[in-house]
Symmetry: C2
Subunit: 327 residues, 2 copies
Amino acid sequence: MDIEDLARRVTAGERRALARAITLIESNRADHRALALQLADRLSGTGNQALRLGLSGTPGVGKSTFIESFGNMLTEQGLRVAVLAVDPSSARSGGSILGDKTRMETLSRNPNAFIRPSPSQSELGGVARRTREVVALCEAAGFDVVLIETVGVGQSETMVAQMSDIFLLLLAPAGGDELQGVKRGIMEIADMILVNKADGALKPVATRTCADYAGALHLLRKRPEDPEGFPKAMTVSAVEGEGLRTAWEEMQTLAAWRRETGHWQARRARQSRHWFEEEVRLGLLARLSGSPEMRARMEALGTRVAEGDLAPAAAAHEMLALLDAAP
Amino acid sequence: MDIEDLARRVTAGERRALARAITLIESNRADHRALALQLADRLSGTGNQALRLGLSGTPGVGKSTFIESFGNMLTEQGLRVAVLAVDPSSARSGGSILGDKTRMETLSRNPNAFIRPSPSQSELGGVARRTREVVALCEAAGFDVVLIETVGVGQSETMVAQMSDIFLLLLAPAGGDELQGVKRGIMEIADMILVNKADGALKPVATRTCADYAGALHLLRKRPEDPEGFPKAMTVSAVEGEGLRTAWEEMQTLAAWRRETGHWQARRARQSRHWFEEEVRLGLLARLSGSPEMRARMEALGTRVAEGDLAPAAAAHEMLALLDAAP
């Protein structure tokens, strides 16, 4: 594979080259891995910087419709948009029930948009790690906005926030007790809360929900990386395209403020450090399965544990001592 | 601390001793850890075997009410019941919004019941690992039933299933499209689905929901560890106490069948092996933070990554080489 040629065609904006590069990044084969690192190194100097938008929303809030409307609005403004996904369920099942392109029909046919489903790795950590590399790739390919969506299961929101400049939470209108349904951790990482379905009969409920969340956000301690008025809660209607333009303006205001104050760069620096630590963590764990001898030792100890001959913690103690003694 | 004395009082069923032993297990201090392993070793010979019931249900399905009604029914039959929790949110926030005892008022005052909130560890893996040790402790303390509940965020359901003899999924009545809300992986691990709130106006919806899930379960490939008719879907009303006795009989039928056929022992053996592997994994990761030299190297490389001087993956490559070369 000619990495030099592939890199050139990716930066020239060739969709097929981009798709091929992503496939390379998502591969677990050792030779592909080496090529992927080479490609990343080759592309790191482009200096392109996209706005990386994280987007979380549980099934039913209208996430696909939102991405479709929002993405089309951005392309109408002449922007190029990439849509990626971090879907932990695909880690287990090997893919979403519905393909991402089926969910976003007009956007997927838009020449200025690029939609890529979640990589299927065996663990969420692997999914997120690969997606982060794809974000960097899309950035090198000259996209203006990279939108990374997640259903928000487990740690996936935190992981997506770790690769976003701005993190959005999409919610459906709801009343009373249901408000508590939002995981507490997410209020800490959301830069903007968008209450969708502010149309038709649900409009008043959406407005009230929005006010409730605005109130809740107000109670949180202000983060240094937030200008006055952020984190912000707004209503939108993805179906009617209502509020999307305003939401986009707010995102740009926030991004500009963070760039001016240095918080943008500081955030990216923190994120890079995080991903480095994550890479080391995953690399360490690979040790266990890498050597045939260690695999055999694990197997033998595991059998003794299964037979009730040894307690799990005691066996682990023994195995760790072996790993320490290994060359 | 006199471990011998503590062990004796735990097996004698002293609640304060049990609470103290759990606090010891949940501690991260190295000396406490050593004592906890000593205690576990001392208690491993009791031969007591509780029925370990895993229970998952999202907020709103009436999980607390179910545990309260179900737990009180069991104690009325002369059984001793321990209720534990694996709550990933407590990993981040250091505790549930409402204390577990507030949620289960009558059960918490029941002398034959013992309720313990989720341990607050920094990661879900740590929460689950400690809870598993507490399950073994409660078993040694002579409880007949150990109920381990989880809200089912991320991998927590899988982890609870890994420490249960029988895994229950509690659902609320719902219609049509909402059925797809259940994570696909959970249908694979549920032994019984209980549709709660089969009372008043919701009763017909509950009955329909139950039939829908029974149909869905029927479509799944039969697992060797299931007798005819399992996994099973049933309706219950935690508020009215309806269906709880029947559900308990079904659990006992399933447990008896699995004991007779050897699946019970095989499942526990698999689980022990799993927890051993998990202990090794967590122990390996502790290496990174254990040595001051490695911490300093991580810090230095992390700074270069944050400054954009080095890519995360390249820095990780360097760090892993250092760890390999370390004595």
